[in-house]
């Protein structure tokens, strides 16, 4: 795929040889094909972009090592390959504003490069202790039911502050929290009711106000309360507490989505960015002879299977298809949601025997071909099965 795009860009560079600005743009497109994927964090002011980008980015994991995270890039400075959009509430106005502007037909049809994040999830429901669960339910419901959430690869509730705090939890902070947790609950309750009560000089014990303040600033009142509850219920060392805070924050789900939908598809997403920029150039500065290039771009766009896979993954996961349960899981796996190598797609060990992989692939192909050709199924279902068949054929073709 990258080679096709490279050829297209070279052909375009020939066409625009005498235009320095166009040449620079095409050159940049070519360079970007080799560079890490750029993921932009966008959203309204104080929606938690920086915190979330920091929580994801300052602690690189293997899964996300090939990403460049851009904190709210301006519209012109950098063209991101993928976007994490943050909204504070799943309200119609905010969701409508979160929709990316429509571009060319290809840009729309391949617009499978955004994840919607319900940020500051710990503030949902007035910071009750079940805030994160409620937020997760809200996000899932919105993804399944709200037409404004169609097209996103995921709608994920994340408490950025909690995630960041959890990841960067220090020993002294854990010790402090553990000391507070040791105070009888009834006695502590009124002191963790609000920020003011927590930082009140009347707070029992010798901990200075400033230390308490920094704790509540780092974790938020919800985070402090959650940490105390967690320590009381068994997270009795820093590592355990840290892991549990991060797990509950929803960061893991976001990271998995980014890894599965962005990192694994980096090549396709980079190619997409290059093609969209090339399309824009061809449309804005038409040249004689550009028609052939335009039709080559169209052919490329029509043949790009990755975007169909991503869209179908989003549809299946968002509950917008008839698939559910075991078949749905198999379908998203075959489509590459958990990794795009043949072994990943077929749920085999990474060092599986090629014969084994081939047989498993053949088996999956047979079953999904049957699904794709069942006349008693609605067209949409058969079309979805066709995409899975095409993915399976693709993985088998590697063994030909």
């Amino acid at each position: 795929m990258t080679q096709d795009v490279r050829d297209l860009l070279h052909a375009a560079a020939g066409l625009y040889r005498d235009d320095p600005r166009a040449s620079a743009l095409l050159h940049d497109c070519l360079n970007r094909l080799e560079q890490p994927l750029r993921v932009a964090f966008t959203g309204a002011p104080s929606s938690g972009k920086t915190t979330l980008a920091a929580a994801l980015g300052e602690y690189p994991t293997r899964a996300l090592r090939d990403l460049v995270l851009l904190d709210d890039p301006g519209p012109a400075d950098d063209v991101p390959d993928a976007t994490v959009r943050l909204v504070r509430h799943l309200e119609p106005d905010e969701l409508a504003a979160a929709h990316p502007p429509a571009g060319s037909a290809f840009a729309r049809q391949s617009a499978v490069n955004s994840v919607l994040v319900l940020s500051r999830a710990d503030e949902v429901g007035a910071g009750r202790i079940d805030a994160l669960l409620t937020a997760k339910q809200l996000a899932r419901r919105a993804w399944r039911e709200d037409p404004l959430c169609t097209g996103f690869l995921g709608v994920i509730a994340v408490a950025g502050q909690l995630a960041y705090g959890g990841r960067s939890l220090r020993d002294d902070e854990f010790d402090l929290l553990a000391a507070f947790a040791a105070v009888p609950r009834e006695e502590l309750e009124r002191h963790v009711l609000s920020v003011d009560s927590f930082t009140d000089p009347a707070f029992p014990g010798p901990i200075p106000v400033e230390t308490r303040r920094s704790l509540v600033v780092r974790f938020g009142m919800f985070g402090v309360r959650l940490a105390l509850t967690l320590i009381r219920t068994g997270c009795d060392d820093r590592v355990k507490l840290s892991a549990e805070l991060v797990r509950r924050s929803g960061l893991g789900e976001l990271r998995d989505t980014l890894a599965g939908c962005f990192v694994a598809r980096a090549e396709a997403l980079r190619a997409r960015t290059a093609i969209i920029r090339l399309e824009a150039l061809l449309a804005a500065h038409p040249r004689p002879g550009g028609d052939r290039l335009v039709s080559r771009v169209e052919r490329f766009a029509a043949a790009a299977h990755d975007f169909r896979e991503l869209r179908l993954i989003a549809d299946i996961r968002g509950g917008r298809t008839a698939l559910s349960g075991e078949p749905a899981e198999e379908a998203v796996r075959l489509l590459g949601a958990q990794g795009t190598t043949p072994a990943d797609r077929l749920a085999l060990e990474p060092d599986a025997d090629p014969d084994e992989i081939y047989d498993a692939g053949l088996d999956a192909l047979r079953r999904w071909r049957h699904e794709a050709e069942r006349p008693d199924r609605p067209h949409a279902e058969r079309a979805a099965a066709h995409v899975v068949v095409r993915s399976t054929e693709g993985l088998l073709s590697l063994f030909a």
Partner: protein, 593 residues
């Protein structure tokens, strides 16, 4: 008792709103005027998820409003005093459906959107017993959404408004705009800063909000509150904790609103409403004046210029068509005469040839019909040709008017076919050489011959009358008869020629006169027709210019009218301001046209 001053000003402004097509403003003022006395309505407004429901529940110490992730109703909820808790759904057509308070949220969710107009809830609370009504509104959002409209509808009747914004972030631009709008319509506004329990930086946010409101000219206190703390305090019966929730201040403010003397309050609300409506109306009127001015500036100049261009065109057109017509008619006159002359010349030639050789006495009967026919044909052809030329000229002149010529050409059919001017040729007097005349002529010739040859032969002794002289006499007689016959023929021929030519000349003269007359008629008809047309066009143009100029006058009159209206509204605005001052409040800005 005379009507209070505020009522007069309000009614006048209301009329102005209605006159200028702002039924919405008129309706708001009307509701302000007819607001029930003995009730203090306190509205709660805010963007979604700011904690409105929690705030109201905390104010009432009762779970009245839907909170959390439950969908907020799209209609206002009015919470008033009732000895027993009760809830009523009020439908679009005022039907009332009582429901249990605890089932209210479920009942609301089950009803399709748009079937309800409001919800009424009664709770046994001391706070409300003096006639205070708390109105929970749908969240404000997209300015075009019906939910927002339903929320802002509150401003028509609210005596005071609690704006709700949470402490997680300072006021957004939209929230600030909402605050400004609310303050324009309602004099008593407070900003409740919610969720201060969860936000470490709430003091900074409160300061920022105070500063922003101050800069925007909204004099509203900012009261930080925490529903969570209030709830905990209520549960624990802890007065100190309750004080920390910020609610005592808020309740104090609410009590202040409820305690205001009603008549003064009404006057102030009316004054504020009048000022808000007048300001909005003046703004829309100013927009209209601007639009009219722009319209006039651009349109009128262009229209006049176009009219001027058309007048110039018309002048050029007039010269062109008049010249063309006179040239063409002159040409036609000479061409027609030449054509006729040419045709008659050919006829005359034929006449000459005929009578140079032929004997009129023998050929006349054949000749006369031919001549009549030839002349008729010549006249007919000439006349047809004339009609064609006249038609052509009319078209050529009409073409001078271009696209403006949108009517039928004048009727140019010539009367008759020209043939009625023809008489048949009259037969001239042709004398024939009759037998008696021939005998006499023969005798006269023979007499000379007999005598001459008789005298010569008498010298030879012959008698005077002898065979020779008789023979000579006979010869002479024959020759004389022959000579005499020839002379008579020539004379006849000359007479016939003359007669025929005279007839032809006669016809020519008369017909060419007719032709000239016909052409003149054509000329006159065309001239009248096109002069009429040109005059009509000129009239049209004059009329158009008059319309344009009159339009300007009309526009100026209208603009003047609007300006006077603005002045009138500005005066109302000022009077309302004075009323406001009397009612105990300082008004700042004044409007001017």
């Amino acid at each position: 008792m005379t009507a209070p001053a505020w009522l007069e000003v309000l009614n006048e402004t209301l009329d102005a709103c209605r006159t200028h097509g702002r039924a919405d403003l008129a309706e708001r003022l009307r509701r302000r005027r007819d607001a029930p006395t003995g009730q203090i309505r306190l509205g709660v407004l805010g963007f979604p998820k700011q904690g409105k429901g929690y705030l109201l529940n905390a104010v009432l110490n009762a779970p009245v409003c839907a909170v959390g992730d439950a969908a907020t109703p799209a209609v206002p909820t009015e919470i008033a005093y009732a000895p027993e808790p009760a809830a009523t759904l009020v439908g679009r057509s005022r039907e009332r459906i009582p429901v249990a308070v605890e089932r209210l949220t479920g009942e609301l969710g089950a009803r399709p959107a748009g079937t309800l107009s409001r919800v009424e809830v009664g709770v046994p609370r001391e706070l409300l017993s003096a006639g205070l009504v708390l109105v929970d509104t749908p969240p404000v959002g997209d300015p075009r959404s019906p939910r927002t409209a339903a929320a802002l509808d509150l401003l028509a009747e609210a005596d005071a408004v609690i704006l709700v914004s949470d402490a997680t972030a300072p006021l957004s631009a939209a929230e600030l705009a909402l605050a400004r709008h609310v303050r324009t319509w309602c004099p008593h506004v407070v900003l409740a800063l919610t969720k201060i329990d969860a936000c470490p930086g709430w003091r900074a946010v409160a300061e920022r909000d105070r500063a922003m409101l101050g800069e925007a000219g909204v004099d509203a206190p900012v009261l930080p509150v925490s529903a969570v703390v209030r709830q905990a305090a209520a549960k624990a019966g802890d007065a100190e904790l309750n004080a920390r929730s910020g609610f005592p201040e808020l309740l104090g403010w609410i009590a202040e609103q409820a305690a205001r003397p009603p008549e003064q309050s009404r006057a102030l609300l009316a004054a504020v409403g009048v000022r808000a409506a007048a300001a909005e109306l003046v703004e829309s009127l100013r927009d209209r004046v601007d639009a009219v001015a722009q319209d006039a500036g651009l349109g009128q100049a262009a229209l006049l210029q176009r009219a001027q261009r058309r007048a110039d065109d018309l002048r050029r057109q007039n010269t062109r068509w008049q010249n063309l017509l006179s040239d063409e008619i002159t040409d036609l006159l000479s061409d027609a005469e030449y054509d006729l002359r040419e045709r008659t010349r050919k006829i005359v030639n034929t006449i000459d040839r005929t009578f140079d050789e032929g004997d009129p006495a023998k050929v006349w009967d054949e000749f006369a019909p031919w001549l009549d026919n030839a002349l008729a044909e010549a006249v007919d052809v000439n006349y047809t040709w004339l009609a064609d030329r006249a038609e052509w000229i009319a078209q050529a002149v009409a073409a001078c008017f271009g696209a403006q010529y949108d009517r039928a050409l004048p009727d140019l059919r010539l009367d008759g076919s020209g043939l009625e001017y023809l008489d048949d040729v009259g037969r001239p007097k042709i004398e024939k050489f009759k037998i008696g005349q021939q005998a006499f002529t023969g005798l006269r010739g023979s007499y000379g011959g007999v005598l001459m040859f008789g005298l010569v032969t008498s010298l030879a002794g012959l008698p005077l009358i002898n065979p020779i002289s008789i023979g000579a006499g006979a010869a002479f007689a024959a020759k004389t008869i022959k000579d005499e016959g020839g002379m008579r023929l020539q004379r006849r021929q000359a007479v016939a020629k003359q007669a025929a030519q005279r007839h032809v000349d006669d016809v020519f003269l008369r017909f060419s006169k007719e032709c000239r007359d016909a052409i003149r008629v054509v000329q006159r008809r065309l001239r009248d027709h096109f002069t009429g047309l040109a005059e009509e066009l000129a009239d049209e143009l004059t009329h158009e210019r008059e319309t344009i100029l009159a339009g300007t006058a009309e526009r100026e009159r209208r603009t003047g009218h609007i300006r006077r209206e603005i002045d009138r509204l500005a005066a109302l605005h000022q009077r309302a301001g004075e009323l406001g001052t009397i009612a105990g409040r300082q008004q700042r800005r004044e409007l001017s046209a």
